[in-house]
């Protein structure tokens, strides 16, 4: 066992996380399932699956395809709606000593506002605005790939948010820094990235796409270099805290993101291969700190 002399705490827009490790939205449900594999008390925060104003059915199956070192998903934000979420999932998560980050989905500016307004009265710690889901036709990524729209939706939503607002960016853009500046300008208190890259896989025997939706979001270890580059660029462009994600499955991966400027890190697809991935990442970060005598991650954050 490593002695916990060092300080793992990180601060995201005034909310203190006991350590920098959270979960990537949509890969961890609301923590119930993986809570049977890891002690949720050990996580800095749990970021839950995207919630919308009303229940969404999501896309048809097949929704999952494996690709080399990664995967595609076209879940399409299936969720039971914000009321069910507040009723069932917040009380569950509040049993644990961890922060709650709620990922918000919407098809229009007014839907985003409606969900955020509802959540602003709920017992949660941070809001993560998902303007970057490639799997829904309206809303989602159409907001995240247009500078003006990204600015507008952030600004509108910010008026309703009582908790700090993190905006989650899409990597499917030419210049990520433009979008990052636009959302910070609109009032974002933090940025998380990356959401999934738009991808595709074809079954050559059936001569059909594997996903019923034809295209889907690409994630997992294979996307890490792209994610890291974007975190690096955004960290230089804006001064709000960043939650970095995309292919993180070890402590070393997480340290790379922190060196590139991330305040916290989220573990997503890696959970599917290793249900203990979040804790392994946390342990890996601690080991690195011990090895190099680091007291606080502030010492190395954004060094690159």
């Amino acid at each position: 066992m490593i002695k916990e002399k060092h300080n793992l705490k990180v601060n995201i827009a005034g909310v203190e996380l006991k350590n920098p490790v959270t979960t990537a939205s949509g890969t961890f449900g609301s923590g119930r399932e993986y809570g049977e594999f890891v002690d949720l008390n050990q996580l800095g925060a749990v970021t839950v699956k995207g919630v919308s104003s009303t229940p969404w059915k999501g896309n048809p199956a097949p929704r999952i395809a494996e690709t080399y070192g990664g995967m595609l998903n076209s879940v399409g934000l299936q969720n039971p709606g914000v009321e069910e979420f507040i009723k069932n999932d917040i009380p569950f998560l509040r049993q644990y000593d961890t922060k709650i980050i709620v990922n918000v989905a919407g098809k229009s500016v007014s839907e985003y506002c409606e969900v955020v307004e509802r959540l602003s009265h709920a017992d949660i710690d941070l809001i993560e605005l998902n303007i970057s889901c490639p799997n829904v036709k309206e809303g989602g990524v159409t907001f995240g790939t247009d500078v003006k729209m990204a600015h507008k939706v952030t600004k509108e939503v910010k008026r309703y948010a009582k908790q700090p607002l993190i905006v989650k960016l899409s990597p499917n853009v030419t210049d990520i820094t433009e979008i990052a500046r636009a959302v910070v300008d609109g009032g974002a208190d933090g940025i998380s990235l990356i959401n999934t890259l738009l991808g595709m896989a074809i079954d050559i025997h059936k001569r059909k796409p594997i996903l019923a939706n034809t295209v889907g979001g690409f994630s997992g270890p294979a996307v890490k270099p792209v994610a890291l580059r974007m975190v690096y660029q955004v960290a230089r462009a804006v001064s709000v805290p960043i939650i970095g994600m995309g292919g993180i499955s070890t402590g070393e991966d997480a340290i790379e993101f922190i060196l590139a400027g991330a305040t916290a890190v989220a573990v997503g697809t890696a959970n599917f291969r290793n249900p203990r991935a979040t804790i392994d990442v946390l342990e890996g970060i601690k080991e690195y700190m011990v090895r190099y005598g680091i007291q606080s991650l502030d010492e190395i954050r954004g060094m690159i």
Binding site: T27, E33, Y34, P62, R63, I64, N73, F272, P275
Partner: protein, 257 residues
């Protein structure tokens, strides 16, 4: 806490063209497992990232073993087929809900298709009463002896006629004028859909084990959904095959594709 186990492979042998039977020492899984549940098998490394869901074919609670029967269809199952007795494999389970065995039924019909046949072996082993097993294959049958050992009457259909009845398993059910109080079934979706229609016509309750592409296998990612009725064909919900299934009642399923 639950965890992935490194299970010892006791045996891993070719039992038919491209089909392998693997026996694992997996005490915890064997103790808990029910007929119709599955396990996640993991490949080495991260290139093949996602678990492969494989049904539990037989459970040996006394010796703490499970057997799996799998077809080699892609990279993952190919890797499994190269593993030797004495090596270990990462496995998580048991997962999902198994068949709901109804002991009040004296006459059971069991219908399997192709590589959907394996989980029916443990089911037949546990069922009491009469067991009429109908199996459909493209050309080569598997596991017939296993069913016979557990007291089933086995009827085989092959598409090319190389074994048993030439045709599909539904035609064989009809030809034999099969009678039963309940049907348990696992196989390709078109087969399940056809048998479900026949079961409905004949007013026989039927359980089906469905398959879908999965990521987590434990209910967290909402990747593996099927359409399950709330009230009717138009009023349905996407349910998780891994967590809510894989076994459902056939009249709950929206059989639209």
């Amino acid at each position: 806490m639950k965890e992935i186990k490194h299970a010892l492979i006791l045996d891993n042998q070719l039992i038919a063209d491209n089909i392998y039977k693997m026996t694992l020492e997996a005490d915890g899984i064997a103790r808990e497992a029910k007929a119709g549940q599955f396990v996640n098998l993991y490949c080495k490394g991260e290139a093949k990232l996602l678990p492969r869901p494989i049904s539990i074919c037989e459970i040996d609670k006394d010796r703490g073993r499970i057997t799996l029967v799998y077809g080699v269809v892609g990279q993952g199952t190919k890797e499994f087929s190269t593993l030797k007795a004495g090596e270990k494999i990462e496995v998580l389970g048991p997962l999902g809900n198994g068949f709901k065995i109804d002991e009040s039924k004296a006459k059971n019909i069991i219908v399997g298709g192709g590589i959907g046949t394996p989980p029916l072996v443990e089911l037949v082993k546990q069922l009491k009463g009469e067991k009429e097993v109908y199996l459909g294959f493209r050309s080569q049958s598997i596991l017939l002896e296993a069913f016979k050992v557990y007291g089933a009457n086995v009827h085989v259909a092959t598409e090319d006629g190389s074994e048993g009845f030439k045709g599909n398993v539904l035609e064989l059910l009809k030809k034999n004028n099969a009678k039963g109080e309940i049907i348990y079934s696992c196989g390709p979706k078109p087969m399940l859909k056809a048998i479900a229609a026949w079961a409905k016509e004949n007013e026989i309750a039927m359980q089906v084990s469905l398959e879908e592409r999965m990521a987590c296998g434990i209910g967290a990612c909402v990747g593996c959904v099927c359409k399950i009725k709330e009230k009717d064909e138009l009023d349905w919900q996407h349910k998780k095959v891994c967590k809510d299934g894989p076994v459902f009642w056939s009249d709950e399923v929206v059989w639209d594709d």
